[in-house]
Subunit: 240 residues, 2 copies
């Protein structure tokens, strides 16, 4: 039943009411696809549902947007609830809005991605709605609930764009690193090889990284120099 | 009041109900920022609201997503209702989700952009909710209702990315064109100048355009050759 007050009518106000069957029971969700790099593999964070629908199946972290927060704030909150991580850089990449993608309500998911150091994460294995969580090699992702396989695939595609066009990789390194360590991360995410000298020259000439002045300690081979990212903030820059 | 049936409870189903105050009265909108190039200017389509809120103020075309259509389908429908255009290529670019961006309901807008030939458009100047419409030079956009200035600004930024990284400009040319006409369009959208010979060489070497074999008729100067885009479908390609 559409409610439309006389006051609205005389002010010429458009009639919008949540009980209009054309658009009743709509709901806004966020998903956060979290990537890390570990032992030469790109991995993503998956949660096992502890409630139905899809009880026991795997999903990417996400949840409903509350009415007192922006969609960005909701994504940050969800990420913190599921990983304990605060102040993580997240990037919105796509809204998923097929008609029947969620059996509970008409749900549009605005999807974000983050690239983080898994060792900084205090993973919650069991919460009110989750019975387990794990870092899953992107080559081994199982059939996920809802349209989350599609969300994962798109997130990985976008991550590769951002790795090429920005300094987002810094989010994996909260301190110094050696050039071979950095190169391995780029090679893993982009699934290609770089020439060692060209790689080093490129990143230095772009002003993306700089030497810290320190060198590797306790090295059995010739100790490598340490580097750090020049900027703390996310920055767009064409790397390759 | 949250409704939660016994059957849901014994199946372990998550309680989701549109009357939950945390997320009640949410609604999904789409906006379509339509650009064209005309007389050396980039212009965007604006509508004047014929209903409140913001009666008489200007907005970009958009509307509520119906429950029986995907967000992409909603964007296509809105564009057709406002311009008469069917089968236009649209590109989703960002979801806007601040808390109070719409006074009627909690509204997230998924925004799309399109680049079209304004001469193919059968503009609707007056509809149920619109009292006027116009093509507005992007340098002269007035203060718009809601957060639509922000949506316009972002759309223009994204359009420039797509013009550099894809063949989206083809959507402005439904038939043949001369190389100077094409160059003028790129220069207008990107707000920069290109060397005439380099521009021509670049677009040909990328296989983006090809000669039709025809030449300009009724030309007072040396007649220019006609070109067309090689592909009909949207394609990502680094142009500049």
């Amino acid at each position: 039943m559409i409610k439309y007050s006389y006051n609205q009518f005389i002010r010429g106000e458009e009639n919008m009411d949540a009980s209009n069957p054309l658009y009743e029971n709509q709901c806004i969700h966020v998903e956060v696809v979290v990537f890390t790099v570990d032992e030469g593999k790109v991995k993503t964070l998956l949660l096992q549902r502890g409630v139905g629908p899809f009880l026991g199946e795997w999903i990417v972290p996400g949840g409903v947007v509350f009415n007192n927060e922006s969609i960005d704030e909701a994504a940050v909150r969800e990420l913190e609830e599921k990983t304990g991580l605060k102040k993580v850089f997240i990037k919105q990449f796509y809204a998923f809005g097929e008609v029947n993608r969620d059996p509970r309500m008409r749900m549009v998911s605005v999807a974000y991605l983050a690239l983080i150091d898994m060792h900084k994460v205090d993973l919650q294995h069991m919460t009110l709605k989750t019975m387990d969580s794990k870092w899953c090699d992107i080559g081994d992702i199982p059939k996920l609930a809802f349209d989350h396989n599609q969300i994962c695939d798109r997130a990985l595609e976008e991550l590769r764009h951002y790795v090429i066009n920005s300094n987002i990789v810094k989010d994996l390194f909260y301190k110094q690193f050696t050039m071979p360590e950095l190169q391995r991360v780029y090679e893993t995410i982009l699934d290609r090889k770089f020439d060692r000298r060209n790689f080093r020259r490129k990143l230095l000439s772009l002003g993306l990284v700089e030497k810290t002045g320190g060198i590797e300690e306790n090295s059995s081979h010739r100790p490598a120099e340490y580097y750090r990212f020049v900027k703390d903030e996310y920055e767009e820059i064409d790397i390759f």
